[in-house]
Amino acid sequence: MSQNFRIALRFLTAKKRAMLMSLSCIILGVGLFIVTQAATTGFQEFFIKTILGTNGAILIQDKVQATMRSIASGGYNSGYEIRQKEGQKYIEGIDYPEILTGGVKAFRNVSGVSAVLRETVTIHSSFREQTGQAYGILLADHLRVSSLGSQIVAGSIEDFRVQQAGALVGRVIADKLQLDPGDTFEIVDKNDVHHYRVSAIYQTGVNDIDSVRVYLKMDDARALFKKPTGATYLQVSLIERDRAREDAAEMTNSLGYRADAWQDREKSWLGVFKAFRVATAITVSVFTLIAGLAMFNTLAMIVLEKTKEIAILRSMGYTREDISTIFLWQAAIVLAIGTLVGCALGGIITYAVSQYPMPITGIFTSHKFLVQWSKWHYIEAVIISVLTVMVASLMPSRRAARLEPGDIIRGTAQ
């Protein structure tokens, strides 16, 4: 323990009460920062996981057709072309999904590909009718690119595999139509009436999905839509989700189909999450700002009160640097205690909140408050408070160091 540290500690213990305000603001600032970050990223992470688990990391749809202009400006498949969107035309759908799947699987980061046929339909139950979207899937393929298998809340996926004309129905639409596993419903297409049986009910937690999607087996869907070949899109899952953009760009470039990464597809929601996270971080940082101001105030007060001691120390050979170090140490000690307690508090509240039963409905559905544990929330909280409080401590410490012992003694003694 250095001598300056020891002196700082003693000055501080004599002024405990004054430092309390600063200390409590540091604790609150750090603690709340951690909790709010854990919660906002918790919801964001839940959203991303759901997106990846339902729509996949990359969706491949729409054939790219070069127009005369883009051919003139760089040639087909020339990298440059992808970015120049106005020079391109898209043709909806995928004609030969099997061939395209082979091309997509050649990418190293790809862990699964599933061809999906989709159309908007009207669903009738004995209770009422409802517009929805029917998705034709090959179950084995689709389980590899989605979390559908773990999203079943009633019935069983095994029934869907074996049952004739089985269907997987979203929680919200099933409730609206009052459907339970085993019930039948109809999809009317022109004059044909097709009958299906509810094999299982799934719940992704995302309202937009659970309220519209009905999964059918690919063959049933082909019969319903009268489309013996082709697919609406390919759903692709990735090993490293953060490389989706790069992979999608490369796929668009080399396969001749437009590939969209999840970050671009969900840009607006992800933007909302980010804005929310930044906004709460700024709001909570007000506490840290107050902690900084309180520290400035308290240190300035201690400097005024300890001018005599500063003069004594200087007369004994303590340098200007020693004096400013003594005051910076005081801030550092309070900071250390504050950030430590703040981190502990943040962790405890985060845990408590994550355990608290709290039904959430809206864009998602969850029965608990969602949190994400990350050491970065703690590191960021500590960095923000250390920066704020140390910057606030610089001025009073410098002032203490600048005091001339002669002036102090004359002012006090005479």
């Binding site: 001598q3 200087r314 050979g317 012992p405 004359r410």
Partner: protein, 228 residues
């Protein structure tokens, strides 16, 4: 020349103005003075004649407006703050007129404070030396008492012990016996003088006590900012 004692401190033509604008006062009007190792000097004079002001200059706590100061042969006036600070720690022991202790520290911590800054002794040696010094000012039984729990006279004796902590070249004491009863005043004075003789230190003290002044090796009467 061989038995001529070493010059611990010398000043020449020291001048100091204090205050600003109309309130500006010519406090020191050219003081020249020499303190030899092993000798005790008394500066006497009426209140307000500039004794403390002179002592602050000699203690390198303040800067003269004119004149020069040498400590141990080295020119110190108007040198860099870092140089003067180091010299304060190593060569000068200062006893303030108004017993300046660090009140939230114990007696021994106060005495060890200059030693820790200089850092020449081991922690154990520091404790031993500080204990011995406190013992010699009659506070051997109050070593671990906080400064706030000491009487004015006791605080002053701790301040004397602290001034001698680093065995400085020169001890500057502004009324070191001002708050003490006759017995303790005599004790502190004897301590200062005997240590100075033993270690070859110079002592310059300001006093209003004629008895004390009389027992010093030299007396320098001062009036209106000059020695007379």
């Amino acid at each position: 020349m061989a038995d001529q004692p070493k010059i611990a401190m010398r000043c020449e033509g020291l001048q100091r103005y204090l205050g600003q604008d109309e309130g500006r006062v010519h406090v020191l009007k050219g003081v020249t003075f020499e303190a030899h190792a092993g000798h005790v000097y008394a500066i006497v004079g009426p209140s307000g004649c500039g004794k403390s002001t002179l002592l602050y200059l000699l203690g390198l706590l303040d800067q003269p407006d004119a004149g020069k100061i040498w400590i141990n042969g080295q020119l110190m006036s108007n040198s860099l703050d870092a140089v003067r600070t180091a010299a304060r720690g190593e060569h000068i022991g200062f006893v303030f007129q108004f017993h300046f202790l660090m009140l939230e520290f114990t007696c021994i911590e106060n005495v060890m404070m200059p030693m820790k800054k200089l850092g020449r002794l081991t922690p154990l040696q520091m404790v031993e030396r500080a204990t011995r010094l406190l013992d010699s000012v009659g506070l051997g039984d109050k070593v671990h008492r906080l400064g706030t729990h000491l009487s004015g006279g006791e605080q002053q004796r701790v301040a004397v012990a602290r001034a001698m902590a680093n065995q400085p070249t020169i001890i500057l004491a502004d009324e070191p016996t001002g708050n003490l009863d006759v017995k303790n005043a005599s004790l502190v004075f004897d301590l200062l003088t005997s240590l100075a003789k033993d270690n070859g230190q110079a002592v310059v003290l300001v006093t209003h006590n004629p008895d004390i002044a009389h027992r010093c090796d030299f007396t320098r009467p001062m009036r209106d900012g000059v020695f007379v």
